[in-house]
C-alpha cells in the first residue's frame, strides 16, 4: 500500500482571540524584531497515511475542532520523504502581508481542500 506523508496545519479561526500569538508579538520587539504584526500560533500535525481521502474526516472528527480551528492539508510524496524534501513544500517566505491565508496558499504544490467547515 503506498503511503503518503501529510501535514495538517491547524490555526485558530479568524476572529478568535489568540493570546499566545499576542504574547509572541509583544516579545519580538524586545529582541529588536520590529514591524511584526498579526502573529497567530497554531499547530502542525504530520502523519503517514494510506488513504489520504480520509484526511478531511480525520480532521473533522479528531485532529481539529472546527468550531475554533481552521485546517489545511498539505500532502507530499511517499513516507520515505520524511525530512528535507517535504520541508521544501512548506509555505516558506510567501509574499506580502496581504497574502497571508488563502490566496498565497493556493500557489503551493500538493495542497488539497482547505478546511473551513462550519
Amino acid at each position: 500500500m503506498p503511503v503518503l506523508r501529510a501535514r495538517i496545519l491547524v490555526r485558530p479561526k479568524a476572529g478568535i482571540l489568540d493570546p499566545q500569538g499576542q504574547a509572541v508579538e509583544r516579545a519580538l520587539p524586545a529582541l529588536g524584531f520590529s514591524g511584526v504584526r498579526n502573529v497567530r500560533v497554531g499547530r502542525l500535525i504530520e502523519l503517514d497515511v494510506e488513504d489520504s481521502a480520509r484526511l478531511s474526516e480525520m480532521c473533522q472528527r479528531l485532529l481539529t475542532n472546527p468550531l475554533i480551528e481552521d485546517y489545511e492539508i498539505v500532502e507530499s510524496a511517499g513516507a520515505d520523504s520524511i525530512g528535507s524534501p517535504a520541508d521544501a513544500e512548506l509555505p516558506g517566505g510567501v509574499a506580502g502581508a496581504d497574502s497571508i491565508g488563502r490566496p498565497a496558499d493556493a500557489e503551493l504544490p500538493g495542497r488539497v481542500a482547505p478546511g473551513t467547515s462550519a
Partner: protein, 225 residues
C-alpha cells in the same frame, strides 16, 4: 438517587465529585473503558486531565467507550453534569455548545470566584434563585468559553446560560462572562467552576451543594411521577 462519576485516566476530581454527590445521594465511580452505567440517575464528568488532555482538552476522552453510553443516556433525557475538564469533554463531544480556549492570561488560575445564577430553570440550578451569588472555586488553564456570535445569541434566547461570573470576576476571558451552559434540552450542563470543592465549611463555602441538591430534587420528583 444514584450518581455515577466517570473516572478517566488523568481524572483528578472524581473522588471529590463522588463525595459531593454522596452528600445528597448514593454515588459510584464509572470506569472510562466500561459501557455499563450501572443504572445511575445522573452522570458526572469530573475535572482533571482526561487522557492527558493531549491534542486538545477533552478531545480524546470524548471517544472513551463510556462516553458513547453517556451520549445515549443524555439523548434519552438523562442528567449529565460536566465540571471543568468534564465541561471540555462534553463540548468536544458536541453534547454542549461552544468550546473552551486557553485563559487570556495564559496562566493557570486557582481561586474562589463569585458566580451569578443566570437561570434557575434547569435540573442543575432549580434550588437557586436568579441573581443569587455563589462562591465557588475555579482552577484551570483552558476555561475561556467561546461560541460564535450567532450561537451566543441562541444561548441567550433559549436561556441556556445558567451561571455567569459576577461583574468584574471573569477569570479567563470567557465570552459574555459565561461560567456554565446547558444544552437546548436542559439535561446536560457544563461549568468551569468546581461546585464539588464547595460543599463543606472547612473549605470556605458550601455554595456548590445547590447544584447537587437541584439534581436530587429533579430526579426524585421524576421518580414520583
Amino acid at each position: 438517587m444514584k450518581f455515577g462519576v466517570i473516572r478517566f485516566p488523568g481524572s483528578c476530581d472524581e473522588v471529590d465529585a463522588q463525595l459531593a454527590c454522596g452528600r445528597v445521594g448514593e454515588a459510584v465511580l464509572l470506569w472510562h473503558g466500561d459501557r455499563d452505567l450501572q443504572g445511575v440517575d445522573a452522570v458526572v464528568v469530573p475535572g482533571g486531565f482526561s487522557y492527558g488532555d493531549y491534542l486538545r482538552v477533552g478531545a480524546i476522552a470524548r471517544f472513551a467507550p463510556v462516553m458513547e453510553e453517556v451520549a445515549q443516556f443524555a439523548q434519552d433525557g438523562g442528567i449529565v453534569l460536566g465540571i471543568c475538564n468534564g465541561f471540555q469533554v462534553l463540548c468536544e463531544a458536541r453534547m454542549l455548545p461552544g468550546a473552551l480556549l486557553p485563559n487570556t492570561s495564559l496562566r493557570f488560575i486557582f481561586r474562589q470566584v463569585e458566580l451569578e445564577v443566570a437561570s434557575a430553570d434547569s435540573p442543575f440550578t432549580s434550588a437557586c434563585e436568579v441573581g443569587q451569588r455563589l462562591s465557588i472555586p475555579v482552577k484551570h488553564t483552558t476555561g475561556r468559553f467561546y461560541a460564535p456570535d450567532d450561537e451566543l445569541a441562541r444561548l441567550a434566547a433559549n436561556d441556556q446560560v445558567l451561571l455567569r461570573y459576577a461583574p468584574g470576576q471573569n477569570p479567563n476571558g470567557s465570552r459574555h462572562d459565561i461560567a456554565g451552559v446547558c444544552n437546548e434540552q436542559r439535561n446536560v450542563f457544563g461549568l468551569m467552576p468546581h461546585p464539588e470543592h464547595a460543599v463543606d465549611p472547612l473549605t470556605g463555602s458550601v455554595d456548590g451543594l445547590v447544584v447537587f441538591e437541584s439534581i436530587r430534587a429533579r430526579v426524585s420528583s421524576r421518580a414520583r411521577v
